[in-house]
């Protein structure tokens, strides 16, 4: 059996490696970088949040795409109804404008569910008595472009109101 010359193999190997590298890149984390800002950066957990909900703004997203804002769940922190091992929970969403900028406010359901962590009564009302608010601390928050995968990160400090 005759084999092609080694140099032909070398070319073939290089081409295949190049192809695989490019293919592999598609599955690697090569998301474009975006910017994210939390407004405010410090959130005190109370029912007052319903009047002035935490908000987020960012840039660097694909114009017109939906952007999801996710609270990264630190190890050991339990979020009601979110299975252990899920890395994050969506807390807000918005749509990027023509410049790729977005703004999003947390909806009342998100404040109740993910920050105050209430239970819901059979009548469909939030039960604050059975709430187990998110532990105080610094949390990473990520904004993710639904189409582009563009990712922006920021930190939010969660505080509990002083005990009376």
């Amino acid at each position: 059996m005759r084999y092609p010359s080694l140099s032909s193999y070398s070319v073939l190997v290089m081409l295949v490696c190049l192809g695989l590298s490019l293919g592999g890149c598609a599955t690697m984390d090569t998301a474009p970088r975006a910017q994210l800002q939390a407004v405010p950066e410090k959130v005190v957990l109370s029912a007052d949040l319903l009047k002035s909900p935490p908000a987020f703004k960012g840039s660097g997203f694909k114009p017109g795409e939906a952007v999801t804002v996710e609270l990264m769940i630190p190890k050991g922190v339990k979020i009601k109804s979110v299975p252990e091992g899920e890395p994050s929970v969506g807390i807000a969403f918005g749509k990027a404008n023509e410049k790729g900028e977005f703004e999003a406010k947390m909806a009342p359901t998100a404040i109740f569910n993910w920050l105050l962590q209430v239970e819901w009564t059979p009548d469909g009302k939030p039960d604050m008595k059975k709430a187990s608010p998110l532990p105080a601390g610094n949390y990473q928050v990520k904004a993710l472009g639904v189409e582009s995968d563009a990712t922006g990160m920021t930190m939010v400090m969660i505080e509990h109101p002083p005990k009376k």
Partner: protein, 405 residues
């Protein structure tokens, strides 16, 4: 020679690794139905039993060997009626090619997804927003649209008015959640009602979670309502009926609720308050649902509680499963198990027109020009703590086409 063999070996390994990392079609042996639902949260009272019915029916499919050998995996995400959580979960599973169908329980989230998925072809099953029938695309409603059911209720109102020998026009008030869902019945439903001789009052809308509804009820009473159509998700309609009963309004006004009105949940908690209320439903309710042989068999196989504990939306969830099974079977027959894609399933859903669901709902009405899950409703009346049928299946009018979209 040795180096050439090494290079060949190296190439083979590289190709194998590369192949494994490339995205491909769904595995031929397992597909996923993703359910973005509420196991807890404000509408869990009806969403959870529906999702349990779907999950149990999928277990039953697999116990029967799958659909022509293809197993179905149910993934349920508890979204607690929060659109941010829904969107984030959708994003997480969007590129998983095994996910062939998606169920969502939120009208507002449907409006977000409509834009995101506009350039794709996939199946998203959803409650009854008429917009999806007006502009056919990826969204397939579970039953008749909200306005079609409302229009059928207006037909019932006119017939009831005449049956009582009353003259003039029946006066109808609409009392609903202040949301796109709450307004939807009027988009075409109002036009149908006016066409058949109904006089409408200014609608009243209230935020979900409202503890008392006296203000809205008082305004409708003062304006002269003979009938009040209530559109919110149980237990909210039960609470409206409770407040109406406390005001004595149920003695002089006929209350009708949409298909998210009292189920076993509401009738069980406030039997006296809901007495006499009429419910328009696209799925079996009351004892009819609990005694239906398929509902009962699936429940008894997979749930620990006795069938008496079954909420009627459990049967609706079974119908979601039946419909998915039929579409998957059609898809496999057309292209083979190895070539299943979301688009193939999307085409199959449109080929289910006329498919029977064992009488748990009316026959399937999906087609290339229809996204209605069915076009039939039944009327029930809350009577002595039970939900009793007062009509057979009735065809719903096409109210969607009466609205200017």
């Amino acid at each position: 020679m040795g180096s050439r063999k090494s290079i060949l070996f190296f190439l083979a390994v590289l190709l194998a690794v590369g192949w494994a990392t490339l995205p491909g079609q769904a595995s031929a042996r397992e597909v996923v139905f993703l359910d973005l639902t509420d196991f807890t949260g404000p509408v869990a009272g009806l969403a959870l039993p529906g999702s349990l019915g779907l999950e149990d029916y999928i277990k039953d499919i697999n116990a029967r060997g799958g659909v022509q050998g293809v197993k179905v995996r149910y993934i349920g995400v508890d979204t607690r009626y929060d659109v941010a959580r829904m969107l984030s979960s959708f994003k997480r599973y969007r590129r998983d090619e095994a996910v062939l169908g998606i169920n969502i329980v939120s009208t507002p989230f449907g409006k977000v997804l409509k834009e995101i998925t506009a350039k794709e072809k996939l199946v998203i099953t959803i409650p009854g927003d008429g917009e999806y029938q007006a502009n056919v695309g990826n969204f397939f409603t579970w039953g008749p649209t909200y306005q079609d059911a409302f229009a059928a209720a207006m037909d019932w109102v006119v017939a009831d008015w005449k049956k009582q020998g009353k003259s003039g026009k029946p006066v109808v008030g609409h009392l609903a959640w202040d949301s796109p869902y709450g307004r939807e019945p009027l988009r075409g439903g109002k036009e149908h009602g006016e066409k058949i001789g109904v006089q409408f009052l200014n609608p009243e809308f209230f935020p979900s979670g409202t503890p008392k509804h006296d203000v809205y009820l008082s305004r409708l009473e003062a304006a002269g309502a003979n009938y009040i159509y209530v559109a919110c998700v149980d237990p909210a309609p039960t609470n409206v009926l409770r407040d109406a009963a406390a005001m004595g309004l149920n003695k002089k006004i006929q209350f009708i609720t949409d298909y998210w009105g009292p189920t076993a949940l509401g009738v069980g908690t406030h039997p006296e308050a809901v007495e006499g209320a009429v419910v328009v439903s696209f799925f079996l309710r009351g004892e009819e649902a609990k005694n239906h042989p398929i509902n009962r068999r699936i429940w008894s196989t997979y749930q620990k509680d006795p069938p008496e504990k079954m909420n009627e939306t459990y049967g609706m969830g079974i119908v979601w499963g039946m419909t998915f099974e039929a579409a998957l079977k059609d898809a496999i027959q057309r292209v083979g198990a190895d070539k299943l894609t979301r688009e193939v399933l999307y085409e199959s859903y449109q080929r289910l027109s006329g498919m029977k669901r064992e009488g748990i709902t009316g026959p399937c009405a999906y087609s290339p020009s229809s996204r209605r899950g069915s076009q039939e409703v039944k009327f029930y009346r809350c009577t002595k703590g039970k939900i009793v049928p007062i009509t057979d299946w009735v065809k719903t009018p096409d109210a969607v086409s009466l609205h200017k979209w």
